[in-house]
């Protein structure tokens, strides 16, 4: 169980209860652990009741943006006369994040159950689980579970005699960060390039195949069964008013005990790093942390007192994102880290919008040149200007995502950039 419920960091609580338990992967093992009981309950609930309990629980999307899940479901039209779709976003590719993979490979039936309950809430007839191309072993586990669930009547025609039918397809992507953007994901399911489209139309109006669609993250959907089973008040015993519940954390970088932890939202970021993960090897000083995956802003060692909630990290000038802190100690060259992040975004830009296509690669080129000792002071002005032009100008937020770490690193680690430019040296020790 994660902090503060237990000091035994290997024990997990809600979502991660069966992570590491090989028997939970199979249908029989999952049924022994109370699996699909909530789906049976949900089959006799009205879709509105399911939506209401999820809405009341305050569950927020775990894919990074933190949009309230229940509210998103209410955007789906009633009686549209069209097929509705649920897409489960399992294209987990944010650098630093590795939580969905663990849910899927240890508890595939938990995700399937969450998908089925959510599909019932939004009136979907078909579910797509869009799995990141590189997650080949994960997709195999998922597919085995789906076959079992079909055979046992938890997916398919007339589910458990309820008269309600819903299909589920596991769709393996071809490996692109941008396929994790919801409209890019839907384009990819349709067989097109994973290129985001301009909203409107929003997915709830015209999503995959032009039909009303909801896209939810794996962790979000896996959380749904426990909320439907235990009620919204039960879920709200953890976390804060605006960020209820627990969250899987993916802690990486210079940590004594990096890994996945399920933690209640709202504990101080400092405790995540120093209590849960045991601090930094050799007790070196912390230089920077990117708290929510590579597309969130850098925080320095002085900014760790913030609370790990959506609102707390936003106040601190960063974001909870996917709750994937990447910790960098004093030996880290921030410029180098930033260049590597920018290089990632340049590589993953889909190439539609000019700013993103050309800007991300230009940022990378400038950073690399500074890194190689050929920087000029006016490069910093250019980088700030690029931050302006890469923000809010494009179809999706991939370009914005490189700006969050870039601008914060320029603001907070200017000494690093200046040292490289002026003396071709590094402030890292």
């Amino acid at each position: 169980m994660g902090y503060p419920h237990s000091h035994d960091l290997e024990t997990t609580t809600l979502l991660s209860r069966y992570i590491g338990d090989p028997e939970a992967k199979t249908l029989s093992g999952w049924l022994e652990r109370g699996g699909y009981e909530t789906l049976r309950q949900a089959l006799v609930m009205s879709p509105d009741d399911i939506t209401t309990v999820v809405k009341d629980s305050g569950l927020r999307g775990r894919g990074g943006a933190g949009f309230p899940t229940g509210l998103k479901w209410t955007f789906m039209p009633r009686d549209s006369g069209k097929p509705h779709y649920l897409c489960c976003n399992a294209d987990e590719s944010e650098p630093g994040a590795f939580k969905d993979r663990e849910i899927m490979r240890w508890t595939p039936h938990l995700l399937i159950e969450g998908c089925m309950i959510s599909a019932r809430a939004i009136g979907a007839q078909h579910i797509y689980i869009y799995v990141r191309g590189e997650f080949f072993p994960v997709s195999r586990v998922l597919n085995e579970a789906v076959v079992e669930a079909y055979e046992a009547g938890y997916i398919g025609e007339n589910i458990q005699g309820s008269g309600w039918s819903c299909d589920l397809t596991v769709h393996l992507g071809a490996g692109a960060y941008i396929a994790g953007e919801e409209t890019g994901l839907m384009n990819s399911i349709q067989g097109n390039r994973a290129e985001p489209w301009m909203k409107p139309p929003f997915p709830a109006q015209s999503g995959v195949f032009g039909m009303p669609t909801t896209v939810n993250n794996v962790e979000t959907l896996a959380t749904v069964p426990m909320i439907v089973d235990n009620g919204s008040d039960w879920y709200r015993q953890w976390g804060t008013e605006r960020s209820p519940g627990t969250k899987l954390w993916c802690c990486s970088g210079h940590l004594k005990r990096p890994g996945n932890y399920e933690l209640e939202l709202g504990i101080p970021l400092k405790d995540v790093i120093y209590e849960v993960c045991g601090g930094i090897p050799d007790d070196r000083a912390l230089r920077a942390v990117i708290p929510g995956g590579s597309s969130t802003a850098f925080l320095t060692g002085d900014e760790l007192d913030c609370s790990t909630t959506y609102e707390g990290l936003a106040e601190a000038g960063s974001a909870l994102g996917t709750a994937s802190p990447i910790v960098m100690d004093e030996s880290t060259c921030i410029l180098s880290a930033m260049r590597r992040i920018a290089q990632f975004y340049a590589h993953e830009s889909c190439g539609q919008c000019v700013q993103c296509r050309e800007g991300t690669s230009w940022v990378t080129k400038i950073l690399r040149r500074i890194e190689e000792g050929d920087g000029r002071m006016q490069d910093l002005d250019t980088l700030y200007e690029l931050c302006e032009q890469l923000t809010g100008r494009t179809i999706c937020v991939l370009a914005d995502s490189v700006v969050f770490p870039l601008r914060s690193s320029l603001d907070k680690f200017r000494d690093e950039y200046e040292a490289h430019i002026k003396t071709n040296s590094c402030t890292a020790t």
């Binding site: 692109a176 290129e195 340049a346 830009s349 190439g351 000019v354 296509r357 050309e358 400038i366 032009q389």
Partner: protein, 530 residues
């Protein structure tokens, strides 16, 4: 769709404008004379990915800039296209596009007609801030006659979307992604489509170029003439680009009633071929058994005398063979001549070819009748003939512009008098008693009636060779010599005389034809309207 009304009223750059509900801001802006820069947006391509981000505008009360190509006009919306933020964003897009651009305008076919060049000058991008090496991608042959310069490409995807959404052919794709993206044919597929030339026209920069135009001319050295394509009976509206009295290329000209923004590749190449070959340049009359060159006055007097004599002899029914490539005016005066000589038959023969329709605009079809004026010929009394007809022995024979391909040996020898009016001198016409050189399609003004009865003007793009003259002028002068009517010196007058005589054309006047043409009262036109 405010309040279910059919129109919305918004303000663009301080000017109020009312447009149909659903209109996009980029189109509403055009109504008040504001042309928002655009790359990926093309009015003829239905998909709008909003990806070039150069049409960003500011909407009052909204923090983010909006791409005006997809932003729907709404009541009380206040749009500013030229605020500091919008202009800076636009300038920045141009800077991004120029980062890796080779700046090879001096050798680029698009220079002078390039939207990147234009906006770069407009936004004063004089120096690059790129201190690194440019990315070099090279060039590729994307179709048999089209080259692709990846370094100039701005990935607006107009070409991909024209092929996919208008031509219904998935031949083109964007390959790779991000800054490595380029346009390519789908693996295993070839770009081989009768309408593929349009991708060169929609390319806003010099990324796609026609190989038969490359390095031939600078855009600003070209003379441009609005005309129509004579390749088939569709009559696509085109601009004929000429240089030094040669046709260099044809570009489609927008006409929503005929060809939208497009034309076919057959038409594109067909007219350029007419640059070639030897032309009939001076009148020839048969003297001492041989065709001898003479001046127009001598030739016309001689022909008028001969025709006058025939008229007095009361000969058997004559025959006129006309080309459906001749203008309405020429065909009209030819029919007047036949009438003047007594009873006679007028026939035409038209070359047939394979058809191809454009999926996204099916009215635009490369039609089987490979001539621009089949409907006009029929309207003016000509009958369709499957092969070259023989004239009755002892009767007069007049041929207007028909190339007499496949004419039988001894063609015309049985005629009492054989008059040939043509742009060239085919072998079969060497038997003629007189050859009168007339101007070709591009060397004169005239009107042509397309398959559905739309009468459209062609305009003079080239100077005629030698002393060739328009057929309508030659024929009206001949008729005047025979005492029937006056010589007309311009196409406008010729059209007026014709419209007064031909009921189907009665409602039309020269000025109303303008650039888009107008429908004649033909059965085809009635069917198209019905």
């Amino acid at each position: 769709m405010a309040d279910g009304n059919d129109t919305v009223t918004l303000t663009i750059d301080g000017v109020e404008v009312t447009v149909p509900a659903g209109t996009r801001v980029i189109e509403a802006a055009e109504r008040v004379g504001v042309v928002v820069p655009r790359y990926c947006y093309h009015p003829g391509i239905p998909t709008r990915p909003a990806q070039c981000r150069v049409c960003l505008v500011e909407v009052e009360g909204q923090p983010k800039l909006h791409p005006s190509c997809v932003l729907q006009a709404q009541d009380e919306m206040v749009v500013n296209t030229a605020t500091d933020t919008a202009e800076l964003a636009r300038k920045s897009v141009i800077e991004f596009l120029l980062l890796n651009h080779p700046l090879d305008c001096p050798i680029c076919d698009a220079a002078g007609q390039c939207m990147l060049q234009d906006y770069a000058y407009e936004t004063h991008q004089l120096e690059s801030r790129l201190n690194e090496e440019k990315q070099v991608m090279g060039r590729d042959r994307i179709a048999e006659d089209i080259l692709y310069f990846a370094d100039r490409c701005i990935i607006c995807t107009r070409c991909v979307r024209f092929m996919r959404d208008v031509a219904d052919d998935d031949a083109l794709i964007v390959a790779q992604r991000g800054h490595k993206a380029y346009i390519d044919t789908f693996p295993g597929a070839e770009l081989d489509n009768p309408f593929q030339g349009n991708i060169v026209d929609v390319c806003p920069v010099g990324a796609l170029v026609h190989e038969d135009f490359i390095f031939k001319a600078r855009a600003w050295d070209l003379d441009k003439t609005p005309s129509i394509c004579p390749g088939c009976s569709t009559g696509c509206n085109v601009t004929i680009d000429t240089k030094e009295n040669q046709i260099v290329r044809l570009k489609p000209r927008h006409n929503a009633a005929v060809n939208s923004y497009w034309m076919c590749d057959y038409g594109r190449k067909h007219l350029v071929m007419s640059n070639r070959g030897v032309r009939a340049e001076v009148p020839l009359i048969r003297t001492n058994g041989r065709l001898a060159p003479v001046d127009w006055k001598t030739a016309l007097e001689w022909v008028a005398d001969k025709l006058g004599e025939i008229g007095e002899q009361n000969p058997p029914d004559g025959l006129a063979i006309v080309s459906p490539g001749a203008s309405n005016e020429s065909l009209f005066y030819l029919s007047e001549l036949v009438r003047c000589l007594g009873v006679g038959r007028i026939v035409y023969h038209v070359v047939q070819g394979e058809t191809a329709a454009l999926h996204g605009f099916p009215k635009l079809e490369l039609r089987a009748d490979r001539a621009p004026n089949v409907t006009g010929a029929e309207l003016l009394g000509a009958e369709r003939a499957q092969e070259i007809a023989r004239s009755t022995a002892g009767a007069p024979l007049v041929v207007l512009e028909d190339p007499l391909t496949d004419a039988p040996a001894g063609f015309g020898s049985e005629a009492s008098f054989f008059l040939y009016l043509g742009t060239r001198l085919p072998n079969a016409a060497r038997e003629a008693d007189a050859v009168l050189p007339v101007t070709s399609f591009t060397e004169m003004e005239g009107t042509f009636t397309n398959f559905e009865g739309r009468v459209q003007r062609s305009r003079q793009a080239l100077q005629p060779p030698g002393i060739a003259r328009p057929a309508w002028l030659v024929l009206s002068r001949l008729l005047a010599s025979l005492g029937a009517g006056d010589t007309v010196m311009d196409a406008r007058t010729a059209f007026g005389v014709m419209a007064a005589e031909v009921p189907a054309l009665a409602d039309l006047d020269w000025d109303s034809l303008a650039l888009k043409g107008a429908r004649a009262k033909t059965t085809a036109a009635a069917a198209a309207e019905g």
